[in-house]
Symmetry: C2
Subunit: 161 residues, 2 copies
């Protein structure tokens, strides 16, 4: 029973470590490219989703819509993203990654992507299924509780400044 609890603690710690190391990696890339952290969060989102809207980007980065506009102006000027009208809603725009971003960030991430692919390939099918299952459940928990916190955001705490 103690062995079991040790294992549980190890998984918790490992999940934290993994999370922290991802933050450090993102920060390193950001400094390298002269981006602020919200910039790279935005670009991460777009890299995965392909296309998004300023509204969703604002939610993801935690920015107000005002600063999201400013951020998208920056990134568009740097040719990292493109804005185009949303055919389904003339109020809105769609934001997508521009080729320039791939060319810029590619050399910085291709090695680690290769390394992670090799790491994953070294596991058995059974193990991979277990790992994927765990990660998805873990993420789903996080999403559920994020939603709760956002819902309770109407009587906000005061800022610290």
């Amino acid at each position: 029973m103690n062995v079991k609890r040790d294992l549980e603690t190890q998984v918790l710690m490992a999940a934290r470590e993994s999370n922290i190391s991802s933050i450090l990696f993102r920060n390193a890339i950001s400094r390298k490219l002269g981006l602020v952290s919200t910039d790279s969060e935005c670009l991460s989102l777009l890299s995965i989703k392909g296309v998004s809207t300023p509204k969703d980007i604002a939610r993801f980065t935690g920015l107000t819509t005002g600063s999201t506009t400013a951020m998208l102006d920056r990134l568009e000027k740097a040719k990292f993203i493109k804005r185009r009208p949303n055919p389904a809603d003339r109020r809105g725009v769609l934001v997508e990654i521009n080729e320039q971003w791939t060319k810029t960030v590619g050399p910085l991430v291709e090695e680690i992507q290769q390394a992670q692919a090799e790491l994953i390939a070294s596991y058995s099918d059974n193990d991979l299924a277990t790992i994927a299952d765990f990660l998805i459940r873990f993420a789903n928990n996080v999403k559920a509780y994020t939603h709760r916190i956002e819902e309770s955001l109407n009587q906000p705490h005061r800022g610290i400044t």
Copy 2:
């Protein structure tokens, strides 16, 4: 062979999803407490390491030492951290979490921590060992490549502004 590649892709995607959902969670907490994202990165680090130095905090958050000083001033004024002299080096200070932070953030995270603990407890010992192993290796890869990028930070790209 195709099944295997599907599984590999699933793990990659799941890892990304997990990472993204953690960012969203952190941003939600930050907005709730009126913190900027570097503040909560700093507090995360301190929650895990217990005690740290402004130098290490600067590296972790990607801030300059100058803005780290300002950030620590903010957090100290809010009673979320404490500074105390470093007995081993009179130039430096040690930074640690203050009780006030635990009391403030505790209610916001205890439910999800409970949920994650239950999720983890639902796996067999074998599975837990596999998951921990994977997460640690994954994180170690990220750390290694973060280090490389930081090393190459001497001929930096130009900022985008």
